[in-house]
Symmetry: C2
Subunit: 129 residues, 2 copies
DNA sequence: GCGCTACTTAGACAAACATCTAATCAGGAG
DNA sequence: CTCCTGATTAGATGTTTGTCTAAGTAGCGC
């Protein structure tokens, strides 16, 4: 068992549920929806975290050990660890210790929710323009 | 004419072109790709800017005057203006002055590119998980 | 136990950011 | 031209963020 778990988010808010809100078009986002969604985008709004996400997603088996990741950056292990923590607290990734190593994998639900917000908007407006 | 213009970005980088990079899965994002993409997500990684984007997208005609937007927030006009500038410099919106008022509309290309990055990843990994 | 490796936490610090007030620019009406 | 309204720019300020070094926790092998 690895990524077959329940989508338990280790930060407070559960953001992995069914899309909560209209996809940016149709109906203006409420303040509380925006406050809930913005941190998800903030989590990937950093070059290092974008690459971490990509490295994990592309790694064989869909999961990667921290030691697979640190080599790709000119950053110290604590910094990588910090970025992984930010991603995990946003619910974008989950992790598990397996012996000496800690493995990370992507929680597709949260990514899907983010995509569902901006994807339809771009499509709808592209048609309109 | 309003949103039929060329996709001219008033900041440096042109981010509206054809998708530059694989969609997060398949091949790890390069450092330069990540550096180029992260600011797009940073631009929408704020509750106010998310709502601004949504308010503009939902407004009739696909465009909104600044005066249509300020009322939705408990913020001063300069602050709204600042957030609109951030969105515009990221290439997410474009603007035009028409008489007394300044109108903003969404540039769907940039939004589409962002969606293309994270959408396929969530779909692919959801299938894998 | 002891030491080694893998990773995380704690604390410090400079850079970036969101917000405000005050001042400025652009157009329209008298 | 003068005033008023709509919007942006400039500058100041408190907060957040990315990074580091130093210290701590967790598992493995001797």
């Amino acid at each position: 068992m690895s990524k077959q778990e329940l989508p338990i988010i280790d930060a407070g808010v559960d953001v992995s549920g069914p899309a909560c809100c209209a996809p940016l078009v149709c109906e203006p986002l409420s303040d509380s929806e925006a406050v809930e969604l913005a941190p998800l985008f903030k989590a990937i709004a950093d070059p290092v975290r974008l690459r971490l996400l990509s490295l994990i997603a592309c790694h064989e088996g869909g999961e990667a050990c921290v030691c697979d990741l640190t080599g790709a950056f000119d950053l110290t292990p604590p910094t990588i660890s910090h970025h992984l923590k930010v991603l995990r607290q946003a619910g974008l990734i989950d992790s598990e210790r397996r012996g000496t190593w800690v493995y990370y994998w992507i929680n597709p639900g949260v990514l899907a929710r983010m995509s569902a917000l901006i994807g339809p908007a771009s499509a709808a407006l592209a048609g309109t323009a």
